[in-house]
Symmetry: C2
Amino acid sequence: MRWAVVLAGGVGSRFWPLSTAARPKQFLPLAGADPLILDAVRRVLPLVDAERVLIVTSQRLADAARAALPMIPPGNVLAEPFAASTAPALAWATTHAARHDPHAAVLSLHADWTVGDPASFRAAAVAALDLAEQQDALVTVGAVPDRPEAGYGYVVPGEALGAGHRIAHFVEKPSLDTAQTLIRQGALWNTGLFAWTAKRFRVEVAAHTPELADAMPHFDAGRVEAAFRAAKPVSIDVGLFERTQRGAVIGASFQWDDVGSWAALRRVRAADPAGNVTAGDAHAVASTGCVVWSDDGPTVVFGMTDTVVVRARGITLVTTADKAPDLKKLLDQLPASLTGERGA
Amino acid sequence: MRWAVVLAGGVGSRFWPLSTAARPKQFLPLAGADPLILDAVRRVLPLVDAERVLIVTSQRLADAARAALPMIPPGNVLAEPFAASTAPALAWATTHAARHDPHAAVLSLHADWTVGDPASFRAAAVAALDLAEQQDALVTVGAVPDRPEAGYGYVVPGEALGAGHRIAHFVEKPSLDTAQTLIRQGALWNTGLFAWTAKRFRVEVAAHTPELADAMPHFDAGRVEAAFRAAKPVSIDVGLFERTQRGAVIGASFQWDDVGSWAALRRVRAADPAGNVTAGDAHAVASTGCVVWSDDGPTVVFGMTDTVVVRARGITLVTTADKAPDLKKLLDQLPASLTGERGA
């Protein structure tokens, strides 16, 4: 049977002042009316029964995840004792699936993405799972880039493997110039939409991921806290995909966005003819390329270009689209009374 | 005796959303902790007893003026039956002063200015009153420009007259290029700080201001409403100063500003080292030349240049310093629910 694992433990400050440690990005309705995490689960439910959808999140966020996802059995929300990057989280979830079903195949995705076309997303997910099962491979879905993007990870395809390719190598967060070169050479965005069989995953982890060597027996025995204490934090990309010989990539053309900042809402939400995205009681007049998010009162921008204005939780933020990804630098300079609930 | 007349009937939308029709600019604490009108009255009280300070305003604003100015006798607040520009207002106030004191000299000023150095302002006011009395002239105080300013009126001095000069001519709101030329030629800003004797004012009005011909007998008889109905609206500049042969100008170097927009607060209030002016719970980080006014909650600007951000009466406005004088254009495009109390 096929399972889906939704990684939902993220914290962050890029959507301050709307986001808080108790309500990070994946719980915000950034793409539409519902939280991103609900969008993410709905996106996979046509493929995987709710009983086989697992949510991995922090203890702090577990109740919020259960509340946001009433269709998911509460026991399917796995609360990490502490954050240890993605490899321990996925080892836990994959072990959980294998215990119920030794022939499980796992699709892994993040709770805080937006996807333009859910049907194309599902087609890519099915192709990735098929490739993982047919070729006994660890598969990542590569999105066809529509722009050079320095902030993303790239995957370079190698020789053909079934419907996909082996992975030649990864390039993490290249310069813009390098990104352009990579794209010309056929590199894809490493989405983090992964597929593997539980059996192959465990074999490859045993062979290549010493960071999990002491943890796996604890996961097998259901001793989650001991497993996390025994694990060394490492991402699944570094701890497994960059090391295994059984990595594969399959290209896909659905619109995928990790919504890295307020400015990214211009790609994710419908814009007016001047390219402004507004949400709430927001008014953009004689302005272009602005993001105006106003939760608690009217906000009017007049004559602005590429500006981000957010009014949320009683706080107003005004910054540029260029500066929006750097909010952490801002928050480091503000009094704690403003930023206490900022997230990491 | 010397009297002061403070013109306080203005309405306007340049300080939206803080300003409303019921609380226009002169009632806002734009320069410091107190409303501009209170600053204006305090500025003249060392020269003129409160019993001889007259406030001319609208009926709608009369009670607000009395409340803002507890030191002024309530009967000294003259409420116009309707707005008719400055000539009828000043004719009324001058007649009022002359009835108490046939030898009255009148100093006329506006309630919504800011002045950098009140002592220099008073020195200029005394010099203007002296010149008015000694030369039997209608005097305007000309401020030495510290920048070309297209929005102001300019007065060009002619031949010497006592401590001042006769007025050669006026230039209203020149282009920036013309303003630069005028300044090189010695032109001054026509502040609207005026001085005259009641006797000379009445003689010159009789000779040059037909718009007031039918009104003056009513003013003399104390029939204010009839006087306003009989008057044709005209400014004192057009209706008298541009026509009389007895106009004079006296230069002064006090810092004078009519605070024409939110952006003008950068000249009027103390700025941080990067040139940002903040008021209320406002924070400017990595920003330059911004005005951030936050009345009802924290406002943070990050990486902005020459931007105006105002949070007042539950509304947030974001615009550029260049656009700030054009708020009327904005308000014409907003729903009435936002702008109902905007002012004219």
